[in-house]
Symmetry: C3
Subunit: 349 residues, 3 copies
């Protein structure tokens, strides 16, 4: 059985990626075609012509008005996936229709429902409001990963690796040294992992962007909603500066690091990343710096996880890992993902 | 079971490709060595030394007089495949012999029989006489296809794709819009597909080569003899100009477009193409133009079919296509090919 | 069952390759980490962190003092493979230990035992003393081979291929033409193949290095100790010059050509090669010439064997080779290797 949960919402793209040209992306093994109607709505339908399976995202396929025309024999489909014209005859077969996918544009992402469409409920899509809030400035990107999505979940749930894999960027000795606390909301299906460092070295990522020098308070509060959305609430402040009693926190810097972890296939992943900050909102230099730094950090992860995927591909069956305290969050995430995958019912297998 | 018919003739090469150097090409999964004797005859034998399977087409293997010498240990074979010398001893093992393939050079092609050699009958090789006729001038080539041969059969039997995939070269709106007529000669095993456009736009391919401008009559008469030989009899004339009662047709332009569709393996194909014309016989500019145009068109097909092969490789089992009227010829071809494959008996499996 | 014998010593590297940086090499399918302690001892342990399998030879993993630190989460191991530190907690799990491999540095090679460590006996490692003898000068290297190790064994046991594959370097007509004598020491497990050419052309490899011109005596005495060590005792002398009655041989040139044949995986091989000579000891020009020549010869073998591996990958099951007298040594080697593989017991499967 696949380890990828179905009957779930996944981020397929940033809204900015979808325009008036056909755009193809594979999500959970399903090739999906996206394009935007003249009214601006994002469509999502199967990226295979019903006739001879030519990808509708592939040139010379093209969008004309509110229809997409196959580049092989000219089968033409409307925004709902229904075929409206075929070559050499006026009658269009009744069954000629592309599978349509429920799609929602929200928080800068295009979300798509994989599985039984009858179960799709847009109200259950997890939120990342900072990415489109005027009170935050966001930089973002996506890196392709040649590794199964579970390896990225492991990676992000255990930030002790920052000290080793991301030293000189976001890692300092305190991250690996400081114990974590983990909580699981079984009903909501959310994993929380917190690491509060009250007296820590300030890594370049935060020193250059906030202007702080010397020791800092650094709080990392992870909130992972399997399968797709990961949020790291990062709080940076001078030592001893705490949030006020009323909940406001004007003397700290807040960075919301958001990942969308989308399986492309069983062994490849779309690694969407975004960094939203509530300071230096109009400072392009800070935006450029954080974008370059975070992309570098993501590519360090990509290099390591691509290696791990190859390692797994060549290791004998029954290989055993050894887990310790830092893995509590990752193991909880695996458990929730396995539960979701076991409950999957919808769509093609 | 393989979808590739055996006990059949296939085009392995153009005669011009075979000379006094060893030449290797795989046909229907069988690696075959070709070379030309001093008398000019094309030989065809297994491209694997009987000793340690080194390919005899691979340097430093070489042809010396009328023998081929293996580049690994020097096993030496005559034009009939019989081993005549081995290293370190004078006795040559009696069983040391390369499998020989029936081969015929005809109509510019080298045909080779795949299957039981006892069934090979050169008289049954389908003909394409224009390719060597003094009344025609021919340009030709071969493009490797990373797709199963059936996808190329589908492609060539349904020319409605010219409008979309080859627009600006040979495609105009009328090709996709005009219905076809299909006939199958079950006994001879030939599929005929005709599309007669009596008032059509003249595509650049024919406008520049014939000098016609404005509207034209354009007749496409396909004759496919599975598995290998495909002929498109193309007739271009000013509107209203018909062949005469005596069968002559002096006021039309005739182009014979010939494809040899040769499986290299289950998933790759040799796509031989030739364009013979009965006009502008000595005009090198027209030859250069048609060669460049047709090669471009073939490469557009190659790009599309290579994508389809990848699509098939990743799709779930049981995928269903939808067929319409334009597919009548292609479906008939599939049926004849399946019948041929089911009747195959000869040679290795 | 694997064709690779276990419970055997294999050459993993030259000693010069191992220093204070982590060095990874796969031997018989097992990824092994090597590094040298401050005292100079070569360590050998599993190249997979016990935590999340990150390769310890992969940056940013690093050696610090006499420990190796994983580049992913910082798990730290001593020279014996025992884990001594983990992130986020002071207690180190008792079972956290890398598999250690018996390793011996000898005759310029690092030998490693693959299989049951209880059976490892360093006294049984075959010797190649010339490679570190002050009476010889040695050039050496290693070329990666994309072919199973058995193809290299075949190649080296049958030197008749020198005439064809290595003409112009080490091959002359006499090699393929001269019969061999083969002996097998079943108890010691050694295959001997001898070819004594008493009146032979001098190939460039020996002409330029020895200064001999004209005809030569050329003796090739192969001694192969399966699975890994192959020695070719090569004696070059003017015609009629024999070793003296006391066993000394001052008027001949001696070259010891040593190969270590180490399976990397079932289908790839490390091809270690060394050429030791007892003449022109301090002549850098001769060293450079022999190194360049032998590397070229090895790369000719690599090209041929890489082709053979691809041939085998695509041939139908049950393919039959034809063997003749020159193959006697190679067939004996295959038999000893099969016996070793059948007796293998140790380690992972």
């Amino acid at each position: 059985m696949s380890s990828i949960p179905r009957d779930q919402w996944y981020v397929a793209a940033y809204g900015r990626e979808i325009g008036r040209e056909p755009f193809g992306r594979t999500v959970c093994g399903e090739p999906i075609l996206f394009w935007r109607t003249r009214a601006g709505t994002v469509t999502a339908m199967s990226d295979r012509c019903v006739h001879r399976r030519f990808p509708l995202s592939q040139a010379p396929s093209r969008v004309v008005d509110d229809q997409v025309v196959c580049g092989y024999h000219g089968f033409t489909y409307g925004a709902d996936g229904k075929c409206v014209a075929v070559p050499g005859q006026t009658r269009v077969p009744r069954t000629a229709r592309l599978t349509a996918y429920p799609a929602v544009e929200q928080d800068s992402f295009v979300w798509v429902w994989i599985g039984d469409p009858a179960k799709a409920d847009a109200a259950t899509i997890p939120r990342a409001p900072w990415l489109v809030s005027p009170e935050y400035t966001t930089v973002s990107g996506m890196e392709p990963l040649k590794a199964r999505f579970g390896l990225l979940v492991d990676n992000l749930l255990d930030l002790s690796h920052e000290t080793y894999l991301h030293g000189g960027y976001i890692g300092t000795p305190e991250v690996a040294a400081t114990p974590i606390t983990t909580e699981v909301d079984e009903e909501a299906g959310i994993v929380y992992v917190s690491r509060h460092m009250d007296d820590a070295e300030c890594p370049p990522f935060y020193a250059k962007s906030t202007g702080l020098s010397g020791r800092i308070m650094r709080w990392q509060d992870i909130e992972y909603t399997p399968p797709c959305l990961y949020k790291l609430h990062s709080r940076i402040a001078p030592p001893g500066v705490l949030p006020r009693a009323d909940g406001s926190d004007p003397d700290a810097f807040h960075v919301e690091v958001v990942y969308a972890i989308t399986p492309e296939t069983e062994h490849t992943t779309h690694d969407f990343w975004a960094v939203a900050r509530d300071f230096a909102l109009d400072d392009q230099g800070v935006s450029d710096f954080l974008a370059e730094q975070n992309r570098t950090v993501v590519l360090q992860d990509v290099a390591a996880l691509d290696v791990l995927e190859q390692v797994i591909a060549t290791e004998p069956p029954g290989y055993q890992e050894l887990s310790i305290n830092i893995d509590t969050g990752g193991l909880a995430a695996r458990r929730l993902l396995a539960r979701q995958a076991g409950q999957s019912t919808g769509g093609r297998v």
